[in-house]
């Protein structure tokens, strides 16, 4: 079959929509919302790519995936080649194809977006990655490199750590990943819900890394079980990617009432600990009839949509700016709207209200208006005097970000930190301690999966270069 089409035909193809579960049905289940492209949809969408000579989309990608190359393989009907190309650039494409904010990265650069809609790069990436997972014998990768005899420790089995581990083992190093929780995946397993990223995909990625030789040790808390100086004695290089897990609270009265959760706790109970299956799973969670979620990022959307799926009657997102200003991926906001999540825009909580037994009964908010732009370029929300109102709720989920967790850094005072406790690195991802690299949220503050992965990839390259200068 020839898939050759004229330029005119190419330009006439509209962006293909992602098939998704019906909004009413999915608001009651945890199955994945996006169902994935069919072969036909993938081919049509792939044909929309005009194969720019100097493809800007590649520069828009934090891990520099050669996008036109793998898309051309789809057009050619050669999925093994598409998979080899994609996996060579990106260790976790089934994950990034699902959770990347493509609209601000690769797709924002797509030339077809100038006069229409950009190529659906994320959907195509997912299509190829999912195809690769269905292949029983896997996809032939590069031949394994000869062992270097160098030992590298990775702290944290989240997106940054797993990406780095994959790259480092490919380079022939002996790699051990230390994970504090009982299961590898980091935010991919405790944070991002099943309906957005099925756990079996994360499990498959982890297994693939283990098959490639990566050792993963769970229940090891660096900073407690071992200190960073101890790791430095045992390993030739270290990559710290322990995340920024320290929840930020609102610091308003009533925040310690029963029914107030940090999003980290709420989502961890449900995703990692399977509280949705309580009592056949051991961890409980307060489901809530009326749930208020504070924040406008992906985590807020995840918490709100999770509450809805657990059976909450009304879920309200409280955000101090406008919906258009939300840092969440556009698709998540859109999906949340479709599923019936309420949005209380231009509202900031001033107190959590409770009854005599100290259970949450509501969230008192203040109406905001937008003033002058702030450092982020967005207009700063300013409270309107006398505008207080209440959102009735029995559960409040606070999803306004995280700070750097000091557990590891506190055990290594020599490690240079920023004012906010994040680890400082140079342009190669190396800290002030030779051989100690860092990346992901512990360096950036709360960012995205793909930026963490980009750091992991870069750190692995820097570690390779660093280790070449060291004797075994």
């Amino acid at each position: 079959m020839s898939n050759k089409i004229s330029a005119k035909e190419r330009m006439r193809i509209e962006r293909q929509s992602m098939p998704e579960q019906d909004a009413t049905a999915r608001a009651k289940n945890f199955q994945e919302v996006n169902l994935g492209f069919t072969e036909q949809l993938a081919l049509l969408e792939a044909q929309r790519c005009i194969q720019c000579k100097e493809a800007k989309c590649i520069a828009g990608c934090p891990v520099m995936v050669n996008i036109p190359r793998f898309i051309q393989c789809i057009v050619d009907g050669d999925l093994p080649a598409a998979a080899r190309s994609l996996l060579g650039d990106n260790a976790l494409p089934a994950i990034t194809g699902r959770v990347c904010p493509q609209e601000t990265q690769c797709e924002a650069q797509c030339i077809r977006g100038v006069k229409g809609k950009p190529v659906a790069i994320g959907y195509l990436e997912r299509y190829v990655a999912d195809w690769a997972y269905r292949q029983a014998n896997g996809v032939a990768g590069d031949a394994p490199t000869a062992p270097t005899g160098k030992k590298v420790a990775v702290v944290g089995a989240g997106p940054a750590g797993l990406t780095a581990a994959g790259e480092l083992v490919k380079a022939g190093h002996s790699v051990t990943v230390y994970e504090a929780l009982h299961q590898p995946g980091g935010v991919l397993v405790y944070g991002i819900p099943e309906f957005r990223l099925p756990k079996q995909i994360v499990d498959a990625e982890v297994r693939r890394l283990q098959d490639a030789g990566v050792q993963i040790e769970c229940n090891v808390v660096i900073g407690r079980t071992y200190t960073l100086p101890e790791l430095r004695e045992r390993y030739h290089a270290i990559f710290i990617a322990n995340g920024a897990g320290l929840p930020v609270f609102m610091h308003v009265p009533g925040e310690n009432l029963k029914g107030v959760y940090a999003a980290n706790e709420y989502l961890t109970r449900i995703n990692l600990m399977e509280a949705y299956a309580f009592p056949s799973a051991g961890t409980p969670v307060m489901v809530g009839k009326r749930v208020a979620v504070v924040g406008g990022g992906n985590v807020a959307m995840d918490a709100a949509r999770t509450a809805q799926r657990l059976g909450a009657e009304r879920v309200t997102i409280v955000y101090r700016r406008l919906r258009a200003d939300m840092p969440a991926r556009a698709e998540e906001v859109h999906h949340a709207e479709q599923e019936g999540i309420q949005f209380e825009e231009l509202a900031a909580p001033v107190a959590v209200l409770g009854n005599e037994q100290k259970w949450v009964t509501g969230l008192r908010c203040q109406r905001m208006e937008l003033g002058e732009p702030d450092a982020s370029g967005r207009r700063r929300p300013v409270p309107i005097e006398g505008s207080e109102f209440e959102v009735e709720c029995d559960v409040v989920v606070v999803a306004i970000g995280t700070r750097a967790n000091p557990l590891l850094t506190a055990t290594c005072p020599e490690l240079k930190l920023s004012r906010h406790g994040h680890i400082e690195v140079d342009s190669h991802g190396m800290t002030n301690l030779p051989g100690v690299f860092a990346g992901g949220d512990i360096v950036r503050g709360a960012a995205t999966v793909i930026l963490a992965m980009g750091d992991g990839k870069q750190a692995a390259q820097s570690i390779n270069a660093y280790l070449k200068t060291k004797p075994v």
């Binding site: 407690r224 320290l246 980290n264 600990m273 056949s280 967790n405």
Partner: protein, 277 residues
């Protein structure tokens, strides 16, 4: 996997498990705890390390069987295993260098004061342990604590030792004077009572808090407590705090968050230990 090497009943509902965890046994310090997850689908529960044998590579966990998860743990027999043990977590106990310390243990909390008494004794601090229970069969760790100093045993019904609460005996020691520090671990009302007791004497008092926890690394914020008007995470900032500054009402209240669910779990057909069976 962490193999159980011994399961001993210490009181009608308190079990001591000795479990293989060599790294933790080697480095743990008084006041630290572990998070234990028995197996798939099980809850993560924080348990203070009551003792450790670095040579044997084992730690002692003293568990009161109250809910579904703790009943499942206490039912584990030698040869069976706990899938996940993470630690040692939390800050080590603030120890004094010399002088006299009183270690007050109520119920299962007596197991938590044991490593504190051990460390103090090792430094040459004079330790008086005041331990108690409802009746004789509820008193635990008496012999172990006798190795480390004086022990005053109190029982509510007077069936063993002195009749009355641990607070009465503690008050007598404070009145007699010369006490540099008090460590108190037990039910919330007992820790509150001891802290209220020591305050007028101006004796520094440390309590070990046991709020609801999930990860134990500061990530979830579920274990937040108020100390001196500031919110702290017990898992990373504690679990031990200045008893004179702790908001015990808040702690007691937050501990009741899942009471309804916990009862439902025990009544559920999936529960291994059904009430009334």
């Amino acid at each position: 996997m962490h193999r159980i090497v011994a399961n001993r009943r210490l009181s009608p509902n308190v079990i001591r498990l000795d479990v293989e965890a060599p790294r933790i046994a080697e480095i743990r310090q008084a006041g630290q705890f572990v998070i234990v997850r028995r197996g798939p689908k099980a809850e993560r529960i924080p348990l203070t390390i009551a003792d450790a044998d670095a040579a044997a590579g084992t730690i002692a966990l003293v568990i009161q069987a109250v809910g579904k998860s703790t009943r499942e743990l206490t039912a584990l027999q030698p040869g069976e295993s706990i899938q996940d043990i993470s630690g040692p977590l939390g800050m080590p106990t603030e120890l004094i260098e010399k002088g006299r310390a009183v270690c007050v243990g109520g119920g299962v909390g007596t197991a938590v004061v044991h490593p504190i008494a051990q460390s103090l004794h090792k430094r040459g601090v004079h330790v008086t342990s005041v331990i108690g229970g409802r009746a004789k069969e509820w008193v635990i760790f008496e012999q172990e604590l006798r190795q480390l100093g004086d022990v005053v045993v109190c029982t509510d019904d007077g069936s063993y030792g002195r009749k009355g609460f641990v607070t009465d005996a503690t008050k007598d020691l404070l009145t007699a004077g010369g006490i540099d520090i008090v460590y108190a671990v037990g039910p919330v009302p007992m820790m509150r009572a001891v802290s209220n007791l020591t305050r007028p004497f101006g004796v520094h008092t440390i309590v070990s808090l046991n709020p609801v926890m999930v990860d134990g690394t500061g990530m979830c914020g579920g274990c937040r407590v108020e100390v001196g008007g500031k919110t702290k995470f017990a898992c990373v900032d504690g679990p031990e705090f200045d008893g004179h500054l702790v908001d015990f009402d808040l702690l007691a209240d937050r501990l009741s968050t899942y009471r309804i669910q916990e009862k439902a779990a025990l009544d559920h057909p999936d529960g291994t230990c059904r009430v009334g069976l």
